[in-house]
Symmetry: C2
Subunit: 342 residues, 2 copies
C-alpha cells in the first residue's frame, strides 16, 4: 500500500446531522461539538441547515435556531478549525452566503444534482470572490454515467471550485463504483477530489477507503454517523481506520472519540441503524426526502413501500417529482388487484 | 467483475446475538427468528450459547433457556433451513454435540484460537462421524501471521473439516488483510473457505466482500448486526449488497428484512452501534471478553481504559490472561505518576 497525500476529514455532524436532529440543534450543542472537533484537530467542519443555507422553511423543516447564530457560535469557540457551509442554489441565495461569511464561515460547498452543475456558476464564483475555500458538490452521483459526472465536475472546476466531491447522497454506490468515479475525476481534473458517503448499504467506510485509494483527499464523515438516511461515514472510526491504513489525518483519536461519545451520543435522538427504509433507499438509489411521501402513498394505496421505492429508483426519479410517487403507488395497486383477480 | 460460485450466508443471530442478549433468548424468540430465516431461504443458521455449546456457566453467563431446547425449537419450525451449533473444545464436550444432534442440529462449527487447531481434532472427527456438515473456525485470525493461519487451516482440513473459516473475532482486520488471508487459504486448501466478521471498525461489509472476491463461499452475518462487540455483518444488508454485486445467495430480500425489522429489532436490548469501547477493541485487536475486566481495572488504577486495551493488543493478550489486564493497568498508573512528578 502506498502512502499518498494527507487525508482531510471534513466533519458534517452539524449539517448532515441536522436532518437526524430535525433541524433542532441548539447553540450549546453546536458549541460543544465545535469545541471538541477543534481540539481533536479537525480542519473543516460544516454547520448549516440539513438542506443548506436557507433550508429553514415549511418545505424542508424550520430550524429551531437561526443557522447564522449557529455558524457564529461554532466559529467563536474554534482556535484552528474552520466552519464550512453548504449551499444548494435555489434553496440558498447569495445573500445567505455573504451573511455566513460575516458569521465566520471560511469554506462553502455549493451542491447541485449531478447533472446540474451549471446552476452553481455564480455561487462558486462568489465563494472565490469572498475568499472562501470553495467546493463543488455533485449530489446523487450514482444517477449519471461516469462520462457525464466528469463533464459536470469539469464545469465546477472551470467556475473556480478548488475541490470537487462525488456525493453518494442515497448511500447506494458500491466500492468499485466509487473507485471508477473518483479515478475518472482524478484523471480529468487538476483540483482536489472529495467523497461524501452514506451508510445505507453498510459500505460508507469501504467507499471512503476506495475513494482515497483512487485519489480523493477530502472525505466527509459525521460523529456517531449522525446524518440523513442511515447516517454518514463515522468520523471517529475513520480516524482509527486511516491511521491503521497508514494515512495521515492529523486528527487525534481519543479526543475525536470523546466528542462523539461524550457529546453527540448524549443528544442524538436515535441511533443510526440500517433499518428497512434506509436499506431499500440504498438498494434502489432513492434519496431520503422521498421517504415520507412514499410511506403515505403506500398506506393510501395498500402497497408495500419498498416496491414504490424500488420503482422510483428504476425510473431515476429526482427531487421535485413527489407526485410521481402517488402515480407509481396507484399503478402498483392496480397491478396487484389485476393479479389477485386473475 | 466475474460471477463466482454461489455465496452461502450463514446467519448467527441466534448464537453471536446471544452475547448481545446476555444469553436470555426465549423459545418464542428463537422460533420466530428461525421461521423467518427459513421462509427467507437461509440454508444454515446457528443456535447456541454465545460461547458455544456448554457455554452456560458462571464464567460465560448462564442461559435463560437450556440451549438444547432452543435448538429443538428452531429445528422444529424449519422446512428447509438447517441448524448449526458452535463448539469450543474445552467449553463444550462431545456429549453436548451428540445431544445437539438429537435436538436437530445438522452442522457443527468447531472453533479454536487461531494457533490451536490441534485441540479440535476429535471434535471435527466426531462431527463427520455424526453425519454433520463440519466446519473449522479459526478465531482471532489477526493474531497469527498468514503462514501460521494456513498451517492451522490445513490441520482442520486434515481432520475432516469441509469448510474452514477466517474469523475476525475482534473486528480488527482491514479489507486487504482479509483478502490476503482468504487468498492464502484458497490456494493451500481444497475445502471451502468461510469468513466471519465483526463491525468494530465499520468494515464488516467491506471485509465480507473482500473475502468473497478472494474465494470465500460461506459468509456469516446476523440480523440487525445482533452480536458481540459492535455486532456482525448485517445479514439482510448483505443480501441486498451481494445481489447488487451479481452474486447469488438464494435469499429473498423482503422476507429477510421482515425478520430483521419486525422480529429481531423488536426484542434487541440496544442498537449495535460503534461506541468507544468497541472501536478501541477493533483498533487494538482485543477480544470483547476483556472489556469488563478492563473497565474495572481502569477505574481501580485511574487510567484510561483505552490505554489498557491498546497495550493488551500490542502484547497480543489472549483469553485466560485476564490477570494481565490488572498488571498493565498498574504499570500505566505508575508511568502516569512518574510523568506527573517529573
Amino acid at each position: 500500500m502506498t502512502i499518498t497525500a494527507k487525508i482531510h476529514l471534513v466533519d458534517v455532524t452539524l449539517r448532515d446531522g441536522s436532518h437526524a436532529m430535525k433541524h433542532a440543534f441548539t447553540i450549546e450543542q453546536v458549541k460543544e461539538v465545535a469545541k471538541g472537533l477543534d481540539e481533536a484537530g479537525i480542519e473543516y467542519f460544516e454547520v448549516s441547515h440539513g438542506d443548506g443555507l436557507g433550508g429553514s422553511s415549511l418545505q424542508y423543516g424550520f430550524s429551531k435556531v437561526n443557522e447564522m447564530e449557529l455558524i457564529a457560535a461554532a466559529a467563536e469557540v474554534c482556535k484552528n478549525a474552520k466552519v464550512s457551509v453548504l449551499l444548494l442554489p435555489g434553496i440558498g441565495v447569495k445573500e445567505d452566503l455573504e451573511e455566513a461569511v460575516k458569521a465566520g464561515a471560511k469554506m462553502v460547498r455549493v451542491a447541485t444534482h449531478v447533472t446540474e452543475a451549471d446552476v452553481a456558476k455564480q455561487h462558486i464564483e462568489l465563494g472565490r470572490k469572498l475568499g472562501l475555500k470553495t467546493v463543488g458538490f455533485l449530489m446523487m452521483a450514482h444517477m449519471a454515467p461516469v462520462e457525464k459526472l466528469v463533464e459536470q465536475a469539469k464545469l465546477f472546476e472551470s467556475y473556480g471550485a478548488e475541490i470537487v466531491y462525488v456525493t453518494d447522497s442515497a448511500g447506494t454506490l458500491l466500492p468499485h463504483e466509487v473507485k471508477e468515479r473518483v479515478s475518472a475525476l482524478r484523471e480529468a481534473l487538476s483540483c482536489e477530489i472529495g467523497f461524501h458517503g452514506h451508510n445505507n448499504l453498510s459500505l460508507a467506510m469501504a467507499n471512503s477507503i476506495a475513494a482515497v485509494e483512487a485519489g480523493a483527499t477530502y472525505i466527509d464523515g459525521s460523529l456517531r454517523c449522525l446524518g440523513a438516511g442511515s447516517g454518514n461515514t463515522q468520523t471517529e472510526v475513520m480516524v482509527a481506520v486511516f491511521e491503521r491504513l497508514g494515512y495521515e489525518t492529523g486528527i487525534r483519536l481519543y479526543p475525536i472519540m470523546d466528542v462523539a461519545n461524550e457529546v453527540v451520543a448524549k443528544f442524538m435522538p436515535r441511533p443510526q441503524e440500517i433499518t428497512g427504509s434506509s436499506l431499500i433507499m440504498g438498494y434502489s438509489g432513492v434519496y431520503s426526502s422521498f421517504l415520507l411521501h412514499t410511506q403515505d402513498a403506500a398506506k393510501k394505496f395498500s402497497v408495500d413501500e419498498r416496491d414504490i421505492l424500488v420503482e422510483l429508483g428504476k425510473r431515476k426519479a429526482v427531487g421535485g417529482q413527489e407526485d410521481f410517487i402517488y402515480d407509481i403507488a396507484a399503478q402498483l395497486a392496480k397491478k396487484k388487484t389485476a393479479e389477485t383477480i386473475t
